[in-house]
């Protein structure tokens, strides 16, 4: 039976109407045998536009609609709701994308109009064979997981835990805190970073709704929004935190000295260590990469002096399985390595530091207890050059993007330096100053006016060691002069890049990354905290370079989005799933083998579909030799009709 379809062509102001003759499209489609009504309107998504659709459905007794407008990712839901309001099933609504895929990419009005007609006709053919469907309901596991316990992960975990839902917080390092806990002070208030973060860390460790898994990594994930099953590998710390009394006897006898990650190599640590005094969980970790004692004949000194017997060399990695309904990914950033900067000495000069090392140098808990000293000879540096955009905004050689926070933290560094060494001189080389943010511009002004920081607009072309100093060759583009400074110390504002192995995790979780390796949000403007995979949300610098307040805001946003899932007892699954046609099925089982979701099985020699597991990808349908399985509302028959329409046949 042929349908009574309504076709609604949107002008989108001049976005569509500027290139496509929308009236002609509506007229042409109006003559189609299945189309009972067609019209155009300036903004179909507006309230009057939607009312026009709803009223037309009732007035013309339409049983299906096609809206020719923008991409379905934007307004599919809007028009499904308009269809519902008109009294027809939401799956009797189809979108013809004539904006992103037509009017915006073509200039030739005549050709674009013909193409828009074809796209619209294709949608008409499709909707003509659409079935009315009802969403499939399934229960939700009402707990969440947060991956990464820097400030963003901590904030997201606390926000969710405080509403009463259980949260599993997974961190790959021995302690939570991320990079923020390494910072000395924060811009633009010069708040002590540890002082504002450590209470939150303690709250995490004491929270009854947070299950903290440190030194742990996600290994495997299966399931779907509302019901994920995550396997986590908890690496052995070889120290039982319940027995450890934090007496610190073990580190005194450990013979191994290796570079300290927390101080970024500015100091050393033992093979058994506590990352930093405020570490959460407060316990020691034995680093098996450096400890010889896992073979107890070789060493075993720490176990000998450990009175409570907390050290266990036989501790094994543990695989923990967690069921969660939603996941927040907050894996943060790493700095672009100094070693990559050939022009700035490839990391081989000890007095050329990156931003995080300088933070440690300024920090009261740092390697010099907050005195700014040259790592090479422990002298107070009298002239310090700060280089912004080191590795950022350099598409030829390094990262093309702006790392966003460096202008601010370099101003902060220069100020901190001046507070530590009042008679010293700070120079900052910059390309532009980007100080957008509350109180940020004033902060930069303060650096110049109160602390006498000299800003030089231009790039540094080269730095090298010269007479015990670091010679900096740069240019001041405002004065039009070459500049040479013999500095005692150089601080590189290295670009932010996604944390190591974030790409592997993204692959595991099946979320996308962008061209720079940051996690890809579902929509750059309207869905900035969602990933493209339902039930997975993004927070913090893993998604893009951002400062602390932005990371915290995004984390709370991601938490709110995750809570929207957890707060429901049941979720609804798209009913556009596979359907078998038993008369045609011979039970060969080829579709069962290719299904990525184990949604198909053979019963009595015929295939059966588990509708909750099926995601509707249609791989089964392309595999079946007898067309005995198809995806509802995008069946081979519909595709053939769409091909025909697309070719103007």
């Amino acid at each position: 039976m042929k349908k009574r379809t309504g076709v609604f062509v949107c002008h989108c102001g001049i976005n569509i109407a500027g290139t496509v003759d929308v009236k002609k499209v509506a007229d042409k489609l109006g003559k189609h045998k299945a189309v009972a009504h067609s019209e155009d309107y300036v903004y179909m998504c507006s309230d009057p536009g939607q009312n026009l659709i709803t009223n037309a459905i009732k007035e013309h007794k339409l049983d299906s609609i096609v809206v020719s407008c923008c991409s379905p990712t934007l307004h599919e839901k809007t028009f499904q709701n308009a269809a519902k309001a008109g009294g027809i099933n939401e799956f009797q609504s189809e979108i013809a994308n004539i904006r992103e895929q037509c009017s915006w990419v073509h200039k030739d009005k005549e050709k674009a109009t013909i193409k828009a007609e074809k796209i619209t006709r294709s949608a008409v053919e499709r909707v003509n064979k659409n079935e009315s469907l009802e969403p499939i309901s399934f229960p939700v596991t009402r707990r969440a997981m947060v991956i990464g316990a820097g400030i963003a992960g901590i904030q997201a975990a606390l926000d969710m835990a405080n509403t009463g839902y259980e949260v599993v917080l997974v961190e790959k390092n021995p302690s939570i805190g991320g990079h923020m806990i390494q910072l000395s002070e924060t811009f633009p208030t010069l708040d002590c970073s540890q002082c504002i973060l450590s209470p939150k860390m303690v709250e995490v460790s004491k929270h009854e709704n947070i299950k903290l898994l440190t030194y742990s990594e996600v290994q495997e994930i299966s399931g779907y929004v509302g019901n994920f099953n995550v396997k986590i590998k908890k690496n052995p710390t070889f120290v039982d935190p319940d027995k450890c009394t934090l007496c610190d006897e073990c580190t005194k006898v450990c013979p191994v000295l290796t570079s300290d990650e927390f101080d970024l190599g500015l100091t050393g640590r033992r093979a058994i260590y506590m990352p930093f005094p405020q570490a959460i969980p407060a316990t020691y970790t034995l680093d098996d990469k450096h400890c010889p004692g896992l073979l107890p004949i070789a060493c075993g000194k720490c176990a000998d002096v450990c009175d409570p017997g907390a050290i266990d060399y036989d501790m094994k990695p543990e695989i923990i399985e967690e069921e969660v309904g939603a996941i927040v990914i907050a894996t943060g950033f790493d700095l672009y390595e100094k070693e990559e900067m050939g022009e700035y000495g490839s990391g081989k000069y000890p007095d050329v530091l990156d931003g995080l090392q300088f933070e440690r140098l300024c920090s009261a808990s740092g390697p010099t207890q907050g005195e700014v000293l040259r790592p090479s000879d422990h002298k107070v540096p009298k002239e310090v050059v700060f280089i912004q955009c080191s590795g950022s905004r350099d598409p030829e050689q390094h990262c093309a993007y702006c790392s966003k926070i460096c202008c601010m933290y370099t101003a902060k560094h220069a100020m901190l330096y001046k507070h530590h060494v009042p008679d010293g001189q700070a120079y900052i080389f910059y390309i532009d100053i980007r100080s957008g943010g509350k109180g940020y511009e004033e902060f930069v002004q303060r650096a110049v006016e109160e602390d006498g920081v000299v800003y030089l607009r231009g790039k540094v072309s080269k730095i090298f060691e010269y007479n015990g100093k670091i010679r900096v060759w740069g240019v001041d583009t405002l004065a039009g002069k070459d500049i040479e400074i013999d500095a005692d110390m150089v601080v590189l504002a290295q670009a932010m890049r996604p944390s190591k192995d974030a790409d592997k995790l993204a692959k595991l979780l099946k979320i996308s990354i962008d061209k720079d390796g940051f996690l890809q949000e579902a929509h750059p403007k309207l869905r900035p905290v969602e990933s493209v995979t339902a039930g997975m949300f993004l927070a913090g610098a893993a998604q893009a370079p951002k400062d602390i307040p932005e990371a915290v805001a995004q984390a709370s946003g991601a938490a709110a989005k995750a809570l929207a899932i957890l707060s429901q007892e049941n979720l609804f699954h798209s009913p556009q799933v596979a359907k078998s046609i038993p008369n045609l099925c011979t039970g060969c089982g080829m579709c069962v083998d290719v299904c990525p979701y184990d949604a198909l099985s053979l019963k009595n020699g015929k295939v059966e579909v588990n509708e909750v597991l099926c995601e509707g990808c249609g791989t089964c349908s392309a595999t079946c030799l007898r067309a005995a399985i198809e995806v509802k509302n995008i069946t081979p028959y519909q595709i053939y009709e769409m091909i025909n329409a697309s070719l103007g046949g």
């Binding site: 991409s71 037509c102 990419v105 073509h106 990525p596 990808c617 249609g618 791989t619």
Partner: protein, 140 residues
């Protein structure tokens, strides 16, 4: 002078990557020839060889199937199945006397609007010298 031959292309784009990539090309106002009419499918793995042959049968001069990059399939592995089928379709085309260049497979992610634009431009340029496809076209 005769009008220049304009090849007709049907493009099967997966919903999650390539269709989103073509949307990005639109949002960024990149320009490409209007020869291509997209059909959004759930996954490149759902594109049956029959769809491709049907498109040629109905008069397409070229067919494009585009999916997520290998390893990035929204449905885990659908694009691998697509890739295997594509190899077969190419062989089959050769066997039945249809230029294999008339059929292309590409990987376009949601972030690759530029790449989608380039693929369409290049495909049109490949198809123009080949002229209209008549071998599989049903008689009108």
């Amino acid at each position: 002078m005769a009008e220049e031959f304009e090849p007709k292309i049907v493009a099967f784009l997966c919903k999650w990557c390539s269709s989103a990539g073509s949307d990005l090309a639109g949002v960024s106002r990149m320009q490409y020839p209007p020869n291509v009419v997209p059909i959004t499918v759930m996954c490149s793995g759902s594109v049956s060889p029959l769809y491709i042959l049907s498109a040629f049968n109905k008069g397409a001069d070229g067919v494009l199937v585009s999916g997520c990059h290998p390893g990035d399939c929204h449905y885990i592995k659908g694009n691998y199945y697509a890739r295997r089928r594509i190899a077969l379709v190419k062989e089959l085309m050769e066997y039945i006397g249809l230029e294999p260049d008339r059929f292309q497979m590409s990987w376009v992610s949601a972030a690759e609007g530029i790449k989608y634009t380039k693929i369409i431009k290049d495909f049109v340029n490949i198809l123009k010298p080949l002229g209209p496809q008549t071998n599989l076209r049903r008689s009108q």
